[in-house]
């Protein structure tokens, strides 16, 4: 009986806090995406030749993010019937967008306005006792080009 109460409490905590954090995170992502829209970020491997005078710098952005207890519980139920695990989809979506935003932020700070050859790397860094993916790390990196005029001033 005590176990059930603990489980129910954990689920309730996970549900309410998890929802709150996710909503807050999405709001902040949307706001910052709008703010950093002037930075062009593309996955193209070859930069346009107009960049010849610019100085390249490696920019990275990374985030480690975890799902809440409720969503992990849902996902473990989902493995019984199969299908889309929606609770993890939103986790990965948030993590990727956050990593790209941080990378753009760093490019912005160093005065660049274009980022090329973006690569995304995903790793699950910690696992809980049952071996489920508890948290993921997403790293975004690319080459930013800093215009020469700004570099000299």
């Amino acid at each position: 009986m005590a176990d059930l109460i603990v489980l129910a409490t954990l689920l309730a905590f996970g549900y309410f806090f998890g929802r709150f954090y996710e909503k807050r995170h999405y709001n902040s992502i949307i706001k910052r995406e709008a703010k950093l829209r002037h930075i062009t970020a593309v996955a193209s491997r070859i930069p346009p030749l107009s960049q010849t005078q610019d100085a390249p710098i490696l920019v990275t952005g990374s985030v480690v993010i975890s799902v809440d207890y409720f969503k992990r519980f849902l996902a473990s139920l989902r493995t019984l019937v199969g299908g889309r695990v929606v609770s993890y989809e939103s986790l990965l979506d948030r993590a990727r967008r956050e990593a790209i935003l941080r990378m753009k932020q760093r490019a912005d700070e160093s005065g660049a306005n274009k980022v090329f050859n973006i690569k995304l790397e995903t790793a699950s860094i910690s696992k809980n006792a049952r071996g489920n993916i508890g948290s993921v790390e997403v790293l975004a990196y690319g080459t930013a080009f800093k215009p020469v005029s700004q570099q000299e001033s």
């Binding site: 905590f13 996970g14 954090y21 030749l49 490696l58 990275t60 790397e121 790793a123 860094i125 948290s135």
Partner: protein, 104 residues
């Protein structure tokens, strides 16, 4: 020293290829951070301690790679890639590698 994950840099000419250079580091956070992280596993959200840990170690890996490149007389590292693997619970290996070149 230019560090980039592009294969070519516009306007620059590669004079000499010097081979692969790499840098890696294995790091872990103290137990307090791990306890906080396991709490975060209940509530969800970002694990700031781990983000910071991985960011610092990645910079360390890049610095080691740069040192190696400098030692063999390169002035740029191109086509840089990152890789992460978890060695044990709470410890992570960060690995950076790239091609050392001399550019003109």
């Amino acid at each position: 020293m230019i560090v980039s994950n592009m294969e070519i840099i516009p306007g620059k000419h590669i004079a000499e290829h010097l081979g692969l250079v790499q840098g890696s580091t294995v790091r872990t956070k103290h137990v307090g951070r791990d306890i906080l992280a396991s709490l975060k596993n209940i509530f969800g959200g970002e694990l700031h301690g781990y983000t910071e840990l991985l960011h610092e170690s990645r910079e360390e890996a890049v610095n080691r790679m740069k040192q190696q490149a400098e030692a063999i007389g390169a002035n740029a590292v191109l086509n840089v890639r990152f890789s992460t693997s978890s060695v044990t619970q709470g410890a992570a290996e960060l690995f950076a590698y790239g091609t050392a070149v001399r550019m003109e």
